[in-house]
């Protein structure tokens, strides 16, 4: 008798897979989120790659006074065009239009000051709003090198070792690995993937509760020899199935994108393998159960599909909040994060992708918290379905 829920489950699944609108939305989300990820990464990689190989162009005013600098610049593949003079508005304009990365102005007093060993001024004009940081750094590097070369040769000419210029030797160590750097960046994006489970099953959750009420078919169903909890369980599992299918497809597509993109170009890597990914998907099954239960418990209170849609468009934001707020707070990963449903899955994925050794506790908490939330939600729904007030309004 207790497997009557499977009768409901089969019928609800059959109906759900014939719902072209719901399936369309599911496919769209499966494709759109990973696509956004691909576009964002592609743009960044593109900029990084171009930045290294693209030519840097400069305008130098008064180039005749600094032949050494000019040759240093040209050695670094920086194109120089010499000009006699330019007014400030002209310079601003030229920089804004990104015709050149920077303008170097060597004043008329330069040669005199230089020969008298006084600080000889060179002006570097650039526009920081045009976002050409890496190119600008190359120019600045040459300028600093120019300064160092002149200083060393002057000291040497006076019989002082140029080592006097560098009393402190700075050694930098970056403890971030490629993997950890990428994960910080990909973090918020990946969190959205798990939150999408709430969207995959939304249509089905509403159709199977508010839709039944609108069609006036719920009363007849309740008059059949089936317990109300068997009824709600069949609907719940059918709804969750859609979320599971959607999430698995989406994570697979995202994984493929991350695997086959040239992430090394931006110093990142995605080292998660298929077995680990499958493990993540399994951990997300309780989350899908929770998403389905949560939406059913809410949507069943609406009398029509449209009313449910309005209600749910606000309600679905709630489980997504932690995944948006917490990354913004920039906290360290700690145990409490594994107790909040969507956030737990996101955190777990990130930690595993970073290559961290994650004990058994995070897995247990991730699965347990979603499962508990799911059971509470569906318990409420089952109780509500039996209550007299609900039956009267059916």
């Amino acid at each position: 008798m207790s497997n009557k829920f499977s009768i409901v489950l089969r019928k609800e699944l059959r109906e759900a897979f014939r719902d072209r609108r719901a399936l369309g939305v599911l496919l769209m989300i499966v494709i759109i989120y990973p696509l956004m990820l691909w576009v964002a990464l592609h743009k960044i990689i593109d900029m990084a790659v171009k930045g290294e190989h693209e030519n840097v162009a400069l305008v130098v005013i008064g180039a005749s006074q600094v032949p050494t600098l000019v040759s240093l610049l040209e050695q670094k593949n920086i194109k120089i065009s010499a000009r006699d003079d330019m007014s400030e508005p002209d310079v601003t304009d030229m920089l804004r239009r990104r015709e050149v990365v920077a303008v170097i102005k060597v004043g008329s007093k330069f040669t005199d000051n230089y020969n008298a060993m006084r600080p000889a001024r060179i002006e570097l004009w650039f526009d920081s709003a045009t976002d050409q940081q890496s190119k600008l750094h190359r120019v600045e590097a040459v300028l600093h090198n120019y300064n160092a070369v002149i200083a060393s040769s002057r000291l040497l000419a006076h019989g002082v070792s140029p080592v006097a210029l560098t009393p402190i030797q700075l050694q930098s160590y970056d403890t971030a690995t490629n993997a950890s750097r990428s994960v910080q960046f990909l973090g918020a994006l990946l969190g959205i993937f798990f939150a999408a489970s709430f969207f995959f099953c939304l249509n089905t959750a509403m159709d199977t509760t508010a839709g039944e009420r609108e069609r006036r078919s719920l009363e007849i169903l309740l008059a059949q020899p089936i317990h109300s909890f068997e009824l709600i369980m069949g609907k719940w599992l059918a709804t969750a199935t859609l979320a599971i299918i959607g999430l698995m497809l989406e994570l697979t597509v995202a994984h493929l994108i991350l695997k086959f993109m040239p992430l090394e170009e931006i110093g990142m890597s995605w080292r998660m393998g298929w077995p680990m990914l499958f493990g993540m998907m399994l951990c997300a099954v309780p989350l899908c159960l929770f998403a389905a239960a949560f939406e059913i418990a809410l949507a069943m209170n609406a009398r029509t599909f449209k009313e449910a849609q309005t209600m749910m468009s606000f309600a679905v934001l709630l489980p997504m909040m932690p995944t948006i707020i917490v990354p913004m707070l920039d906290l360290n990963t700690s145990t409490w994060m594994y107790v909040v449903p969507v956030l737990a899955n996101q955190t777990l994925l990130l930690e595993v992708a970073k290559g961290q050794v994650v004990g058994i506790l995070p897995y247990v908490l991730t699965i347990g918290s979603s499962l508990l939330a799911a059971l509470l939600s569906i318990g409420f729904a089952a109780w509500r379905l039996r209550s007299e007030k609900y039956v009267l309004g059916v």
């Binding site: 009768i7 006036r216 078919s217 009363e219 020899p225």
Partner: protein, 243 residues
């Protein structure tokens, strides 16, 4: 057989049923006749176990829907005026669903479908999806799913509301056939025509109480009024809510 003894039901401050008692027998069609708001729908819901009564006793072939609703429902077919079909399922899939819910196995469902299709002349819509069905086709599907598990008791809530002539005749034919087979049919209605043409027995209900029970002829005799409609009005004390 359905026995109802002094059943009461209150919703907040409203006394929906204030002491309803009657007995309906197998092989008879009994009308539950009353004006709007008399408590007919509430009573039917109590019989199916959708609501719990405050007081009184209900027995459906010896089973109490309050203590064992699942068992009681097995012998009941419930038809409301809202047909509630699933647009994406075919007629056959509807029937299989409800057959399975009622505990029928695959062969009995197949046999049941054959019988019900013959009874209601549904061959043309059997494998069509319910989207776009006419009203008459809808009631055929609704009737079919109600009758599939051959319930001993049929509870109909305002069944011919919104039906055209053809569908009403089909309904009448079906009910006649079932009555002949020994089913116990209760029809909640406030349509006089239905009562005089279809029913052997009438239970008059007003303001949540049974006012009279008997065949249409008995009612007329008792009140000394020739037309059932006038007899009913005099019993109930108001002509509000009669079709």
């Amino acid at each position: 057989m359905i026995k109802v003894d002094d059943v009461r039901k209150k919703f907040g401050n409203i006394q929906a049923l204030a002491g309803v008692s009657f007995v309906t027998s197998d092989g008879k069609t009994t009308a539950l006749l009353g004006p709007n708001g008399a408590g007919k729908t509430t009573l039917l819901r109590l019989l199916v176990g959708l609501l719990q009564r405050d007081q009184g006793a209900i027995s459906i072939d010896g089973l109490d829907p309050a203590t064992d609703p699942i068992a009681a429902r097995r012998s009941i077919g419930f038809l409301t005026d809202q047909f509630g079909l699933y647009d994406r399922l075919t007629t056959r899939e509807h029937l299989v669903y409800f057959g399975e819910l009622n505990g029928m196995n695959r062969q009995s469902i197949a046999r049941g479908i054959d019988e019900v299709v013959a009874l209601l002349a549904m061959e043309d819509i059997l494998d069509r999806r319910a989207k776009g069905f006419s009203q008459g086709q809808r009631i055929k599907v609704a009737l079919a799913r109600t009758l599939l598990h051959k319930p001993r008791h049929l509870l109909l809530d305002e069944p011919s509301r919104g039906l055209d002539v053809m569908s009403t005749r089909a309904l009448r034919r079906t009910l006649g056939a079932l009555r002949a087979e020994g089913a116990c049919i209760i029809m909640a209605t406030h349509v006089m025509q239905e009562v005089t043409h279809l029913c052997d027995d009438v239970i008059v209900i007003a303001k949540g109480q049974t006012v009279a029970q008997g065949s249409p002829a008995d009612i007329c005799e008792r009140t000394g009024i020739a037309s059932l409609e006038d007899a009913f009005v005099s019993l109930v004390g108001t002509d509000e809510g009669i079709a």
